[in-house]
Amino acid sequence: MELAVLFLTLVVLLLIGVPVAFALLGATIAAFLAIDLPLVVVFQRMAAGISVFSLMAIPFFIFAGDLMYRAGIATRLVQVAEATFGRTRGGLGQVNVGASMLFGAVSGSAIACASAMGSTLVPLMKEKGYDADYAVNVTATGAIVGLLIPPSHNMIIYAAASGTGVSIGDLFLAGVFPGILTGLLLMIATYVVARRRGYPRGIFPGWRPFLRAAVYALPGLLTAIIIMGGILSGIFTATESSAIAVIYTILVGALVYRTLGLAEFMAAAIQSVKTTAMVLLIIASATGFGFALAILEVPAELANLIGIITDNPILILLLINVILLLLGTFMDMAPLIVITTPIFLPILMPLGIDPVHFGIILMLNLGIGLVTPPVGSVLFVSSAIGKIPVERTVKTIWPFYGALVLALLLITYIPELSMALPNYFN
């Protein structure tokens, strides 16, 4: 009954056109009244939901990207990227996915990746004649790859949730090939859509202009090197690197290029705060909503269904994927890892499925949940940066969902993709 209240209220409010954050809040309040829980708890969960250090990467990367765009740093970067990779159709789309894979190699956060790539590349892709929805689709789905390519803090959460049997080192190794595979499939989707829409090829401008562009772009290119180098050498954490990116961009924009004035600076800060507030208010409300789902034991009940329905390993994996995709539609990644891991692993391990392999399935599966409505933080941040309604994003995102689901099926049914590297090193 309480569950019906929760979902019916949510659906009605969403359809009326109440903003997603307020629809989630309203549904949670209704459910709390039905369960007879004190309402002050809803607001505690809201505030606690965004009182999370790693979420700081969202405002910082958005801010850094916006500053780069306004100061013209991003334009120079894209000139170089276009000259290098631009000769295929949708070249900037390929650049976006490729950059996401690189970014994923230093940060495990899909939402940080979407913030960073989106705020630099989406405005430029739009300038170059790409449709906004295409730019947003590529950004959102490309950001998922970083969950698989090590390091990934969600894998660390999974290792802890699984008991003591899973090594984080093994998980990191296991994610490499699935991450590359997912990235390649997304690149194919990026190409196919670009071709269908008739996006032009870029033109190689010749070596001399190329080198000149590269030299002009050097301070901007250094951003990536500073971020990666700083993290890998232990100067700062992945989350802190986002603030360093802001500071570096301010210095380069104001002192090197001298294109960043006080007015642009304030405009960038205000725009970043707006985009951040849009996304974080939804994450805040979703945290209260997730509390209600957990108290009502929705994930556990769904998971328990599996044992009743079948004992065929192939079907069990399929069902688990379906259930996780469903749950991921409404809940965020970390709590779902914590709740579902101890339920699924005891079902899977007697069937001979390695917990490391399952960890990789879980990462990609829940990652897909981050780009599906109604609750998908990566989808929201990408749409907000692209300044298009979520519906417009979702309307044309299907080829990219297709690539992700294909990757999920391949990773699920070909364990060697995940296990080859850890087995080789052990």
């Binding site: 007879d36 829980l37 004190p38 002050v40 708890v41 505690q44 969960r45 606690a48 999370v52 250090f53 790693s54 495990g108 390091p151 803090h153 660390i156 959460i157 290792a159 802890a160 949730a161 008991g163 003591t164 090594s167 984080i168 080192g169 993290i231 890998l232 050498s233 232990g234 100067i235 700062f236 954490t237 992945a238 989350t239 509390f291 957990a294 108290i295 034991e297 709590p335 914590v338 709740i339 101890p342």
Partner: protein
């Protein structure tokens, strides 16, 4: 209030098979049996309902009925709880257990009532020790200049600084990668958490400083407590008390298992003479123990030390 509900909600941040959670379940089963099924306790492990600091607030509001937390996050709510978190206060875990089972333990549990929480009993959390990526810590000078991750706590920060190291507050989720990349050199925890967080994979030097023994505590919301009949309160209290020896058995076994497994895995363990460390902690004690009530509990706890037992 949720006077009519028969299913009571409990929360624990540790994973499902951790000793605290198993003891919590044992407690819940006892409550259910003794109430003839009138009271059911449903436990949500793994921190799925929030971090300890957050669920403490929720418990005090009556949003959750039971909560198993470490004493450390209670330090910022009730100053008396700080005493049991003081570094190098206890000679051994035997000393700690005497204190928890005795008058000082009773007083600290009772001190939570004004904050809308009923302290039911203490569970073990063992002794926390330092681990790092560089080499064994034998004396305080070995820690000079090391960046040690600490929880978000003034007491822990003061302790690390008192030992000459750099106290680096960091989210637990970033610690593993922070150790790999060298943002921090070490952290500190008990054997089971050192194992379950898998930090030993990247920081293999575990030095038995046993600096903090802050116990876990099982709480009930005062809102929920007030809704119980006198007989049911007795059932809850008694069941909590009976879960303590059960928990201690599980705990000792878990510590031994974790230690054995990690040593076999190549973790380098070294014993430490704690006296030089303890001497550096007296200024820390003084700055955190300020009220008469705090001093009284500290004196009582010290008087129960191994030398006097």
């Amino acid at each position: 209030g949720r006077g009519g509900r028969s299913t009571l909600f409990g929360t624990d941040t540790h994973p499902a098979e951790y000793p605290t959670v198993r003891a919590f379940r044992y407690f819940g089963d006892l409550v259910e049996q003794r109430s003839g099924g009138r009271l059911r306790v449903k436990i949500f492990p793994g921190g799925q309902l929030g971090a300890e600091r957050d669920t403490l607030e929720i418990t005090s509001f009556g949003g959750l009925d039971f909560n198993r937390v470490n004493l450390a996050p209670l330090n910022s709510i009730e100053p008396l709880t700080t005493i049991f978190s003081l570094p190098f206060l206890f000679d051994s875990e035997a000393h700690l257990r005497r204190v928890l089972d005795g008058k000082p333990g009773e007083r600290v549990l009772a001190s939570l009532a004004p904050h809308d929480m009923i302290g039911l009993c203490f569970y073990d959390s063992g002794a926390r020790s330092f681990y790092n990526t560089r080499g064994p810590i034998e004396r305080p000078s070995d820690m000079r200049g090391m960046k040690i991750r600490v929880q978000n706590s003034d007491l822990y920060v003061a302790m690390i600084r008192g030992l000459g190291a750099d106290a680096t507050p960091m989210d637990l989720g970033e610690v593993y990668q922070g150790l790999v990349q060298g943002v921090i050199d070490g952290a500190e925890n008990n054997w089971p958490s050192y194992e379950s967080g898998r930090h030993y994979e990247v920081a293999p030097y575990y030095s038995l400083t046993r600096h903090v023994m802050a116990p876990e505590v099982l709480l009930m919301s005062k809102v929920s407590w007030d809704n119980l009949s006198a007989a049911d309160r007795e059932i809850v209290m008694e069941s909590a008390r009976e879960s303590v020896p059960y928990m201690r058995g599980l705990w000792d076994a878990r510590v031994a298992a974790a230690q054995e497994a990690l040593v076999a895995d190549g973790v380098r363990v070294n014993e430490v003479d704690s006296e030089p460390f303890r001497r550096r902690m007296h200024p820390v004690w003084e700055s955190f123990v300020t009220s008469d009530a705090q001093k009284e509990i500290m004196r009582a706890a010290l008087a129960m030390g191994d030398g006097n037992a």
